[in-house]
Amino acid sequence: MIINHPLLGPRDSEEFVYLGSADLINRPTNWESEEAAEDFYQYLYIRENIAGDNRELWYHEQGDQSWLVVTRCTLTHEIKSVELAQDVSRAQGRSK
């Protein structure tokens, strides 16, 4: 698989480490609330495990060490879009 890095252009997926669903960006911030235990349980352990277009986190370990959000079809391995995770996270209103 070739990942089209937004800054570095097309790179072999072998240069990357796969983490998992891009939902992992949304770490709960409510650690003091009543629901925190349940929210962290859902965040850490439960997966949608989508058959189709999946948004996922790839880390460019053997490159510029940036985190990317790659939208990839889990049925065909076709990569639909690649964004910097930082941009995705900021667009969702997080500080980084």
Binding site: Y45, I46, R47, N49
Partner: protein, 420 residues
């Protein structure tokens, strides 16, 4: 139903009479209009074994196994056929040892030749830390009566002179062996359970994909399929790599990711390897089939996928693992390779449990190691479906164990399915 008993005498008789007396091994059934007491979704090894033990151990014979393709077309016919009971943790080891004992009697129980071969399995040791970890594992195995044997460097070298004992990166210090481990003809397991279940009255329905569940007031009343709706008293899902897709139709998200594992077979060689050898440090494991091909595998591809094929980087990775540990494979040609989709769970261990929906049960999360579990998984799932109680060796396989902080994490890597 006329059950043909397989025996040497029968083979001889058929040979002399033109092989006219053989019958299909199981009935290819169509769904009954008034439904079933139990429907098993998924005709892999686990689903077929569950149906067999429901009928054999609990007398529940009004059972259907629904399979979207053909039985044996899933992971049960794609795996590298290794069986062993060399686990460490108390939640796992008694379960896998029970499975091993069921394998030991499987062919007599089913009257079917599944080529169960207890040729032994040997895990190589390459460092002091690995040595200590394997000693601990060996003791856990002895506690569970699974048996094990420690081989020092000299003994390993005597048995397998072709191993690269003094590899610069991973020199071999010794091995932890389980002489009762080995291999089983994988698709014969599907056929053997199918035949035995069918003889007891179970309907095996192929080309019947479950597309939804009929759920009313929190209770499952049956399934929707490509052959129409089918009523059921109870539904047991058992679909391995498709677990998340199927359970999503009941609105349930699971602690599971789907990943692909690849397997490889070389051209046939004369007998060179009478054991299963695993090289944990680089991740490569290998055995030799009765036809002579080396059967081997290694790491999963490490990204979520439902495509039943892997990519080339892992092919290179696995083959270089092989070259590192047994350089004699260098000139052997690879004949075939394929992939299977596995349900990798958050701690690398499986589930056999009820769900929050009444009469809907779940069996899955077997990762890359569920073939060896087939008999015990069927035995324990049938026990749960028939009695509402988990079997005593499967009490840890609960879906809510992460919520309770009671993971069964053999590798100790945490909630990262692609590392288990």
């Amino acid at each position: 139903m006329s059950k043909t008993k397989y025996s040497a005498l029968k083979v001889l008789k058929e040979a002399l009479t033109g092989h006219k007396g053989w019958e299909p091994a199981w009935r290819d059934a169509e769904p009954k209009a008034d439904g079933y007491d139990v429907i098993i979704v998924g005709g892999g090894g686990h689903g077929l074994a569950t149906a067999y033990y429901l009928a054999e151990n609990h007398g529940i014979t009004n059972v259907a196994v629904l399979e979207k393709g053909w039985i044996g077309g899933g992971n049960v016919g794609r795996n590298t056929t290794i069986i062993r009971s060399n686990y460490l943790l108390p939640g796992n080891e008694p379960f896998y040892e029970m499975s091993m004992q069921l394998w030991e009697n499987l062919e007599q129980d089913l009257n079917y030749n599944a080529m169960v071969s207890q040729r032994g399995i040997m895990n190589l040791i390459h460092s002091d830390a690995q040595h200590d970890a394997f000693m601990r594992r060996g003791n856990a195995m002895l506690f569970a009566d699974a048996g094990c044997e420690y081989l020092n460097k000299k003994e390993v070298k005597e048995r397998y002179p072709f191993l690269d004992m003094d590899n610069a990166r991973f020199p071999i210090q010794g091995a932890l062996a389980q002489p009762r481990g080995g291999t089983v003809r994988h698709d014969a397991v599907a056929w053997g359970y199918a035949r035995a279940a069918s003889d007891l009255g179970v309907d095996i329905i192929q080309n019947c994909e479950v597309t939804g569940f009929n759920i009313e007031n929190g209770k499952c009343l049956g399934v929707q399929t490509t052959k129409g709706d089918i009523k059921a008293g109870r539904v047991g899902v058992c679909v391995a790599g498709s677990s998340s897709r199927v359970m999503a139709k009941a609105g349930i998200n699971l602690p599971i990711e789907s990943h692909v594992l690849q397997a490889f077979v070389t051209e046939g060689l004369k007998p060179v390897l009478d054991n299963v050898i695993t090289f944990g440090a680089g991740h490569f494991y290998c055995s030799q089939s009765d036809k002579g091909g080396l059967v081997f595998g290694g790491d999963i591809d490490a990204y979520n996928t439902y495509a039943q094929r892997g990519n080339l980087p892992i092919v290179e990775d696995v083959c270089s693992g092989g070259m590192a540990i047994m350089p004699m494979v260098g000139r052997v040609r690879l004949l075939r390779m394929w992939g299977g989709i596995m349900d990798m769970s958050m701690d690398g261990s499986p589930f056999i449990d009820k769900t929050d929906i009444q009469e809907l049960f779940f069996n899955g999360g077997w990762c890359y190691g569920g073939f060896k579990a087939t008999p015990a998984s069927g035995y324990c799932y049938a026990h749960l479906l028939a009695t509402d109680e988990p079997h005593e060796v499967a009490t840890a396989y609960r879906l809510d164990r992460f919520r309770r902080g009671e993971m069964i994490d053999e590798k100790g890597v945490g909630a990262q399915p692609n590392l288990h």
